[in-house]
Subunit: 119 residues, 2 copies
DNA sequence: CTGCTTGTACTACTGTCGTAGTACAATCCG
DNA sequence: CGGATTGTACTACGACAGTAGTACAAGCAG
């Protein structure tokens, strides 16, 4: 998986799980680039993309911060829509492999049980 | 989506849903290439990949046929494994978006209900 | 054997993606 | 204002995926 995708996912995950909180500042583009041994542009692209998604806010000369927008109702709706799209793709793929919705449900439910056991 | 992927998916789907039955012959590499206005090699690659997956059988000078192997227990196990892998990827993606297994289950269950209504 | 049909191997072109390099622009702070 | 820090725009290059072209090999039918 490409660097930028890994980073995007990591940041989204950090915010989703509360490890990064609203208003908190992220590392500088350049700083993070150095830490990850990656080009600054790669980090910048990620920040920009996440800003377009509305979960970050950047201010020139200041830095990049976790936005509060992803808590608004509008954004939660969009988020829900993305889940639907993800499920669409998932169902399509599974369908091409000959699996039904029920097959997927069974599989997911067994995962859920496993998760519960690990708590 | 690339041509070869579309074709692969279409054939898998046709077999999974019974529109192509075991033993049935598929169009010739060249013939299908002409029909789809695609290079013969593209079709050949798809056939070869599906043969590696064990759901097609090809005989030079004769043609390509739907194999019976995908009905064997071994193959069904592999198939099951692929479902697990698909679900893994799915869960990972959803997790990065901040969704839990339960969110996914809810979504899928509502899909299932819709499907039932359409019957 | 000969010719035709089938799939296959090899090569090469083209576009796109991912990343990096460099130079620029906006903002803050003293 | 002026320097430092921040994000940004533009360019270019390497790698790879996808597709096509062409020539080859295996099998069948007469």
């Amino acid at each position: 998986m490409p660097l930028y995708a890994q980073l995007t996912r990591a940041i989204r995950f950090a915010i989703a799980t509360g490890r990064l909180r609203v208003g908190e500042q992220l590392p500088t583009v350049r700083q993070l680039a150095v830490d990850l041994r990656v080009n600054a542009n790669t980090v910048a692209k990620v920040y920009a993309e996440l800003e377009r998604s509305g979960i970050l806010e950047t201010r020139r000369g200041v830095g990049t911060f976790v936005s509060a927008r992803h808590l608004t109702p509008v954004h939660r709706d969009e988020h829900e829509k993305h889940l639907k799209e993800l499920v669409d793709r998932f169902l399509e793929e599974a369908g091409a492999m000959g699996f039904s919705v029920d097959d997927l449900l069974d599989q997911l439910q067994s995962r859920r049980k496993k998760e519960l056991r690990n708590v």
